[in-house]
């Protein structure tokens, strides 16, 4: 004897999708509601859609739907030369755009076996670390905003504005820098950059204390994020998650330490890890990583040598020899991999980016099952991703 019968779907309007199930005798069945968070939603960072199956306020299933921002970068790269690809690659992780360019130039330089001048390598490190600070500040602010704390967002943007102004003086752009070139950099730093940079390091280090007071020490914030969205280290590794999220789950894996590129082996910094792998730890790791990046920037100020920023004999047309390479860099959101296959032409045969946000987003179903709807926001906010990076 069937204990329940379906009465169909509510017709028309926003109520569609609600499956009405009428309980039989002696049972109290609740409906499962399908709710689509996004693609337009104030709290998902960009056009990510998460299809939730809700039981009251508890999430029964969560499926991320990506691809709303797919721009066919892999295909575009087959028809552009390397300088154009550098300009286009900025658009992936746009919160720390320099990191994307850097990986591509490192891949091409490795294929061509180019000797990049010392000064260029150190300046690259400097700008890359400032980009990391930019990216992490953004997530510090937006995480608080999603939980209801609107003020740290404005503080984060105040700091970001100062950094963007600094980088604009050197590169000309505030977000999409196009500063790398194969072999080095486009042009050298303007006068006064290093002094402004060190002043800014001191200013931001002082202002970071505000975030600690407003969020990290706040009881309500702790209640919303401690033990929420726990991600064990093994599961994170199996999903291919890297970067601050993996470090918050206790695994101290950082490409700058394991496979140092540029001169990361000549500067001292730590890789902060979290103890529990919950949302609070992810936030705390982000905060600590900013401090470590500021330390690196100060060391680069001291160690920056004089010299050219591009080799004297650079070929006009960049044609890497036949072959392939895979370069991994520690971008702000995690490890980014660049797979470059060249057949001797001035355009690559294949250029694929392995982006960290894609893997961060792929573990949303694991993190969200069984979680309450308000915790959805606490969890989604702590899974750091940029949609351009997910969809490429």
């Amino acid at each position: 004897m069937p204990s329940e019968r379906s009465a169909g779907v509510l017709p028309g309007g926003p109520g569609e999708g609600v499956q009405v199930v009428i309980a039989g005798e002696g049972e109290l069945a609740t409906q499962e509601m399908t709710l689509s968070i996004g693609p337009q939603h104030p709290s998902t960072h960009g056009v990510l859609r998460v299809v939730l199956g809700l039981d009251g306020e508890r999430i029964a299933s969560a499926i991320p739907v990506i691809g709303y921002m797919h721009r066919a970068f892999d295909k575009l790269a087959e028809a552009r030369d390397y300088r154009q690809i550098i300009a286009l690659s900025n658009r992936h992780d746009w919160l720390s755009a320099f990191g994307n360019e850097l990986g591509i130039t490192l891949a091409v330089e490795r294929l061509m076996e180019l000797e990049v001048p010392e000064r260029a390598q150190w300046i690259r490190m400097l700008v890359a670390e400032w980009n990391r600070v930019l990216n992490h500040l953004m997530f510090l602010g937006s995480f608080g905003l999603e939980l209801g704390a609107m003020t740290p967002m404005f503080y984060a943007f105040r700091e970001r504005e100062d950094i963007q102004h600094l980088l604009e003086a050197a590169t000309g752009g505030r977000m999409h820098f196009t500063y790398n070139r194969v072999g080095g950099l486009k042009e050298d730093l303007p006068r006064g950059f290093l002094k402004e940079s060190s002043d800014l390091v001191r200013k931001i280090r002082h202002r970071l204390l505000d975030y600690e007071g407003l969020l990290l020490g706040n009881e309500i914030f702790k209640k919303r994020t401690v033990s929420i969205g726990v991600l064990p280290g093994e599961i994170a590794k199996s999903y291919g998650v890297t970067g601050p999220i993996l470090q918050a789950s206790g695994v101290a894996e950082d490409s700058r330490k394991t496979e140092p590129y540029l001169h990361y082996d000549q500067v001292e910094f730590e890789v902060p890890t979290g103890a529990h792998g919950d949302s609070f730890d992810r936030f705390l790791v982000l905060y600590r990583r900013i401090e470590e990046s500021l330390k690196i920037i100060e060391q680069v100020h001291d160690k920056l040598p004089a010299g050219p920023i591009i080799p004297a004999k650079m070929p006009k047309n960049i044609k890497p020899p036949e072959g392939w390479t895979y370069v991994r860099t520690e971008n702000s959101l995690g490890e980014t991999g660049y797979y470059l296959v060249s057949r001797g032409g001035k355009e690559p045969w294949r250029l694929k980016m392995r982006t960290p946000s894609f893997h961060n987003v792929s573990m949303i179903p694991y993190l969200l099952e069984g979680v309450l709807l308000p915790d959805l926001i606490a969890v989604l906010g702590s899974v750091f991703f940029v949609v351009g990076d997910v969809d490429r």
């Binding site: 000309g172 020490g217 040598p305």
Partner: protein, 301 residues
């Protein structure tokens, strides 16, 4: 207290962390601290710049708009080819001109008919500016050119030319930087040594037998830039020069500005007048007058 400011702040943070770790009182302290931070920010001035009453202070390298110096363009089409978005539209035709001397081949010249940049497509990457071999395109920080219709965002030669007035000078480079390529190219073009021979204005401490003013000039003229001085004539003399050759000139002589931050060259009026009288065009006369001015400046040190 014998502690520095940082030590005191670090100690306060330690104590705060201990309080926050406790259960009840830690929560109350944390909540109160949050309130104090917002109150403190409220009492400080705001960081807002009220545009449009206040214009932003943009650095010279800002990629705001691209301006075209039409006279320099030879319609080589490199910019249109290199643009990743194909947003530069160029039309031209060839003009046939009579040969200079009778009987020679007729000369052809490219004439630019249309140069338009579609700013609705442009992604402000700057590859066109970088790749132009004739310095016809320049960046400017100008950004207030929004229009009400997307078609109006395609700007033609005349507007692009007017924007040349808004192109700033490139900023001087940081210490330790090499001179930009243009300066090295200039040296080569004018066939000059990198160092002025008569820079005797900067006397070095004569504690060794530094032979000639040339040797004195060499260390004075080669500050610790790491710039490869392309003139071999300096090498033998500076090899004899003592290690103090690396030291910067002493305090009495004014520090020579680095090459890439000298003031931009002007024209030498005499030379200009002379060439105009000889029948050359204004453009040619200006170019020759500028060369003369630079040579004069080098000789004067």
């Amino acid at each position: 207290m014998a502690m520095t400011k940082e030590e005191r702040q670090a100690k306060i943070r330690e104590v705060e962390h201990k309080i926050l770790a406790k259960k009840g009182i830690g929560a109350a302290y944390g909540l109160a601290k949050g309130l104090s931070i917002t109150l403190r920010t409220m009492l400080r001035p705001a960081v807002t710049q009220q545009y449009p009453h206040v214009k932003p202070d943009l650095p010279p390298r800002t990629r705001g708009i691209i301006a075209l110096q039409e006279e320099n363009c030879t319609v080589c089409m490199l910019c249109a080819r290199e643009c990743p978005d194909w947003c530069i539209y160029i039309d031209s035709h060839k003009d046939v001109m009579p040969p200079k001397t009778p009987g020679a081949r007729a000369r052809t010249r490219n004439v630019l008919d249309r140069f338009a940049i579609d700013y609705a497509l442009c992604m402000y990457c700057g590859i066109c500016v970088e790749v132009c071999p004739f310095d016809a395109l320049f960046w400017s920080p100008h950004f207030e050119y929004s229009t009400t219709d997307i078609d109006e965002l395609t700007h033609e030669m005349d507007t692009l030319g007017k924007w040349m007035d808004l192109v700033p000078l490139p900023p001087p480079l940081e210490e330790g930087a090499e001179d930009p390529k243009e300066i090295a190219a200039e040296d080569k073009a004018y066939d000059l040594p990198a160092a002025a021979p008569a820079a005797a204005a900067a006397p070095t401490p004569a504690d060794t037998a530094a032979p000639a003013p040339a040797a004195a000039a060499a260390p004075a003229e080669a500050p610790a830039q790491g710039a490869p001085a392309p003139v071999p004539a300096e090498a033998p003399t500076s090899a004899e020069a003592p290690p103090s050759a690396e030291a910067p000139p002493p305090a009495e002589a004014p520090a020579k500005p680095e090459r890439h931050e000298e003031e931009p060259p002007q024209i030498d009026q005499e030379t200009y007048d002379r060439h105009i009288a000889a029948g050359k065009s204004d453009r040619e006369a200006r170019a020759l007058a500028k060369k003369a001015w630079i040579l004069k400046r080098r000789q004067q040190g």
